[in-house]
C-alpha cells in the first residue's frame, strides 16, 4: 500500500511545485532576507565619507573656538582628513542672534553647511545648545557635539576654580561599553543588537513562510478536490489514511525544496557579499525545530482544512493560524531584552508555539539543554497525536459538502475516529 502513498505524494509534490503561490513564496523569502540586510545597514550609524561643514553660533564667544579646534582634531575620516570643519557664524558687531540664525538657515538650506549649533544660553549651571539640520536623524553628530562641548565646559569651569584641566582629565573615566555575545564554546564574538535581532527575525520569517505557503496550498487543494468531487474518486481508490499520508509526504517534499533553495541562496549570498548577519552556529538545531514545526502544522492544516467547503472559509481559518505563527515575531523585542524570562519559557512549551519560539530564542540566547530535550519530546508526542486526530477529521471532513460542519462536530470526529 506504500506504492499508492507514493503515487499521491508524487502528484501532490509535482502539482504544487509548479503552482504560482509556491513560486512566489520561494522567491519572496530571499527578497525579504536581503531587504532585512539592507534595512539593518540603514539603521546602523554610517561613517561619513567626506568632510562636513558645521556652523556654530555662539553669542558667548567662549565655546565656538575650542569646539572647532577639538572637533577637527578628534574626529577623522578614514583618509585622515578631518570629519568636521567648524565654521563660526559671527554674532555681535551689529549682527544680533536672530539675523545670525536666519543666515545660518539660508546656508543650511543651500547645503553650504550640513547644519549648525546654536548656543542659546551659556552659564552656570545650564548651557543649552541646539543642533539644527535638515536631517534630524543624524544622531552621531549630535552625540559628538555633546561630548566635545561637555569637556570644554568642564575644563573652563575647572580653570575658573583654579583646578588644573589635566587633573580633570585624570578624574574622568574613559568609558567604552561594547556588546559582546558569548557563544556556546565560550568564544567571544562581537555582536550588535541588530545582528541578533535580524538573525532571529530571519529564522522566524523563514519558518513562517514555510508553514503558511504549504499550509495554504494544502487547504486550497483539499477544497478543490472537494468541490469537484475528485475526492470521492480518490477515497474509492485509496484509503483516507493513504491519501493523507501521501499529502503530508508530498508537502514535506515541498518544504525541503524551499529550505534547500533558501539555504543555497543564503550560502551563495554570504560567500559572495559576506553578509554575515545570519549566525549559522545553531543551524542544525533550528532545522530540527523547522521539521518538527512543519509536520505539526501540516497535521493542523489538514485537520482544520478538510471540513471546509469554500475558499473564503479557508482564508479565514488560515488567517487564524497565521496569528498563532506571528506571536513570536511580535515577542521578538521583549524576548531580546530579557531572554531568560519565565513567560518565554512557558510559551515555548505550548506545541503550537514551540518551533517558532525556539526559532526566536536560539539565535538570541541558547536555551538550556533540558529545555531543548523536553520541547523536542513534546513535539515528538504532539505530532503523532495531531496526525491521528487530523486523520479522523480528514476521513469524515473531506466528504462533507454544502454547509461547513460546526466546531463541536469536528471535535467529536477527532475524538471518536
Amino acid at each position: 500500500m506504500i506504492a499508492k502513498v507514493l503515487v499521491v505524494a508524487k502528484w501532490e509534490y509535482l502539482e504544487k511545485v509548479k503552482s504560482k503561490a509556491f513560486l512566489i513564496g520561494l522567491f519572496l523569502m530571499p527578497i525579504i532576507m536581503v531587504g532585512m540586510g539592507l534595512f539593518s545597514g540603514l539603521l546602523a550609524a554610517r561613517e561619513d565619507t567626506s568632510t562636513k561643514v558645521i556652523g556654530v553660533i555662539d553669542a558667548s564667544g567662549d565655546l565656538a573656538g575650542p569646539l572647532g579646534q577639538r572637533m577637527e582634531q578628534k574626529y577623522l575620516l578614514s583618509n585622515k582628513q578631518p570629519n568636521y570643519l567648524i565654521r563660526e557664524l559671527s554674532v555681535g558687531k551689529g549682527i544680533d542672534l536672530d539675523s545670525a540664525v536666519a543666515r545660518a538657515n539660508q546656508l543650511t538650506v543651500a547645503d553650504e553647511i550640513g547644519g549648525y549649533a546654536v548656543v542659546s544660553s551659556h552659564g552656570a549651571p545650564d548651557t543649552v545648545v541646539e543642533y539644527r539640520s535638515k536631517a534630524v536623524g543624524d544622531l552621531l553628530i549630535a552625540a559628538r557635539l555633546e561630548e566635545t562641548l561637555k569637556s570644554i565646559i568642564a575644563e573652563q569651569r575647572a580653570r575658573a576654580r583654579g583646578i588644573d584641566p589635566a587633573v580633570l582629565k585624570d578624574l574622568n573615566a574613559n568609558l567604552d561599553v561594547r556588546m559582546v555575545k558569548l557563544s556556546q564554546a565560550g568564544e567571544t564574538e562581537e555582536s550588535g543588537f541588530l545582528k541578533v535581532y535580524m538573525t532571529a527575525y530571519v529564522f522566524l520569517m523563514m519558518l513562517f513562510m514555510l508553514i503558511v505557503t504549504s499550509g495554504q496550498l494544502l487547504v486550497r487543494s483539499i477544497i478543490e478536490e472537494k468541490s469537484n468531487r475528485i475526492v470521492e474518486v480518490l477515497v474509492s481508490s485509496v484509503s483516507s489514511t493513504e491519501l493523507m499520508a501521501g499529502k503530508v509526504l508530498g508537502l514535506s517534499g515541498l518544504g525541503f525544496t524551499q529550505i534547500a533553495f533558501w539555504a543555497l541562496i543564503g550560502t551563495a549570498a554570504s560567500l559572495e557579499f559576506g553578509i554575515g548577519f545570519v549566525a549559522l552556529d545553531n543551524a542544525l538545531l533550528l532545522i530540527v525545530y523547522f521539521i518538527l514545526g512543519y509536520l505539526f502544522y501540516a497535521a493542523i492544516f489538514i485537520g482544520v482544512g478538510s471540513p471546509l467547503t469554500t475558499e473564503q472559509e479557508a482564508q479565514q481559518v488560515t488567517s487564524y493560524l497565521v496569528i498563532l505563527l506571528i506571536v513570536p515575531i511580535i515577542l521578538a523585542m521583549p524576548a531580546m531584552k530579557d531572554p531568560g524570562a519565565m513567560w518565554l519559557k512557558i510559551l515555548t512549551f505550548i506545541p503550537f508555539l514551540t518551533p517558532t519560539m525556539m526559532a526566536l530564542r536560539i539565535p538570541i540566547q541558547m536555551p538550556a539543554a533540558w529545555e531543548i530535550v523536553a520541547t523536542i519530546a513534546i513535539m515528538l508526542v504532539s505530532i503523532p497525536a495531531a496526525m491521528v486526530a487530523a486523520g479522523r477529521i480528514f476521513r469524515i471532513g473531506i466528504l462533507s459538502t454544502g454547509k461547513s460542519p460546526k466546531i463541536a462536530d469536528i471535535i467529536r470526529w477527532a475524538r471518536k475516529g
Partner: protein
C-alpha cells in the same frame, strides 16, 4: 458479482437508505433510478466503501470489501470536475496509478482512449482549457481506464450533448460485452429503459420497485389506450377499467387499471362513436416512475412493492 442486502444508512435526521437490496451480475447493466434526493448517491457511496453502512451487508463475488478491491472499481461521481490547472494526460495517469495501474500501461491505455474520443491533440493542455463535454469524456476515461470489474456511474448522461450520449452508450455496451458489472444512476427514464437490463427504483431511501425492465413494466405499468374517433367521447371517463381519461375533440388518451378488460372497453365504444384508430400502448418507465413516485394515489402500489 455484487450482492446488496438490507442496506441502511442514517444521517442526522433522516434515513437516507432504508432496507435496500439488489443484485448485479457480470455483463449486466443495472439502472438505479429515483428522483433527486432519493438516496441513489448515498447507496452508491456505500457500495464504493466511501461511506460506511449502518446496517446490511454488501458482498463482492461473495466476499466482503477489501483494499484490493479498490483497484477493480471504476467510479464516475455525479457532480464532477477535474484538477483545473493540471495537464490532461497527467491527470488521467494519476487517477489510473492510484487504481494500481503501472504507469507505462496507463499511458498506453490513456492514449488509446484519447484517440478514440478524438482528444489526442489535447493531451498536454490544461484541463480548464477544455470544453465541458470534453472534460466529461476525460472523467469517463478515468473511471474505466484501469479495466475495472465493477463500474459505477452516477448520472453519467447529465449535461451531455446527444452526440456524446451516444458515444457513452456505445462504450457502456462494450463494457457490458466485456463482462463488467455496471451500475448507473439516473433520473432520466428513457436512458434507463434503453440501457439497463435490471433496474431498481428508489424513493425516500426505499426500494419501490425492482427487477428486469420487462418484469417491471408488466407488474407495475398501467396500459394506456389511444383512441381516435368521430362523435361524442365524453362517456369514456366512466367506462369500467378506465382510471383516467383525457378526451379531446376527435381523440382520447385513456389510462387503464391493471385489471381492465380491453375487449369490454372496445365493445362499449362501438355504436357510440365511430372508431378510426384503437391502439394499446406499452407503458413507459417514465409513466411508471410518475405513477409510483409522483402521484400520491400510487401510494398503495408503493407499499406493495416495498
Amino acid at each position: 458479482m455484487l450482492a446488496v442486502r438490507n442496506l441502511r444508512k442514517d444521517f442526522a435526521t433522516i434515513r437516507a437508505v432504508d432496507d435496500v437490496s439488489f443484485d448485479i451480475g457480470r455483463g449486466e447493466i443495472f439502472g438505479l433510478l429515483g428522483p433527486n434526493g432519493a438516496g441513489k448517491t448515498t447507496a452508491i457511496r456505500i457500495v464504493l466503501n466511501i461511506l460506511e453502512a449502518d446496517g446490511g451487508t454488501i458482498t463482492y463475488d461473495g466476499r466482503p470489501f477489501s483494499g484490493a478491491l479498490r483497484n477493480q472499481i471504476g467510479y464516475l461521481p455525479e457532480e464532477r470536475g477535474l484538477y483545473r490547472k493540471s495537464k490532461l494526460l497527467d491527470t488521467i495517469l494519476y487517477l489510473a496509478e492510484i487504481r494500481g495501474m503501472k504507469r507505462a500501461k496507463a499511458r498506453d491505455e490513456a492514449l488509446r482512449w484519447l484517440r478514440r474520443f478524438d482528444l489526442l491533440t489535447y493531451q498536454e493542455r490544461k484541463v480548464e482549457e477544455l470544453s465541458k463535454g470534453n472534460q466529461q469524456k476525460i472523467q469517463f476515461i478515468t473511471s474505466i481506464i484501469h479495466d475495472p470489474v465493477l463500474v459505477v456511474l452516477d448520472e453519467p448522461f447529465s449535461g451531455l450533448d446527444p452526440v456524446n450520449q451516444i458515444l457513452f452508450q456505445e462504450a457502456l455496451r462494450e463494457l457490458k460485452q466485456a463482462g463488467k458489472a455496471i451500475i448507473f444512476s439516473t433520473h432520466q427514464m428513457d436512458q434507463a429503459e434503453k440501457l439497463s437490463d435490471t433496474l431498481c427504483l428508489i424513493n425516500k431511501g426505499k426500494v419501490v420497485l425492482g427487477g428486469t425492465v420487462r418484469d417491471v413494466k408488466r407488474r407495475y405499468g398501467s396500459n394506456s389506450l389511444h383512441v381516435e374517433f368521430q362523435g361524442d367521447g365524453s362517456f369514456m371517463t366512466s367506462l369500467a377499467g378506465v382510471r383516467r381519461a383525457m378526451i379531446y375533440e376527435n381523440a382520447a388518451e385513456l389510462d387503464l387499471a391493471p385489471d381492465a378488460r380491453i375487449q369490454d372497453i372496445l365493445k362499449a365504444m362501438i355504436g357510440k362513436v365511430e372508431i378510426r384508430k384503437f391502439e394499446l400502448l406499452e407503458p413507459s418507465l417514465q409513466s411508471i416512475f410518475i405513477e409510483t413516485v409522483g402521484i400520491p394515489a400510487g401510494g398503495t402500489m408503493l407499499q406493495g412493492a416495498a
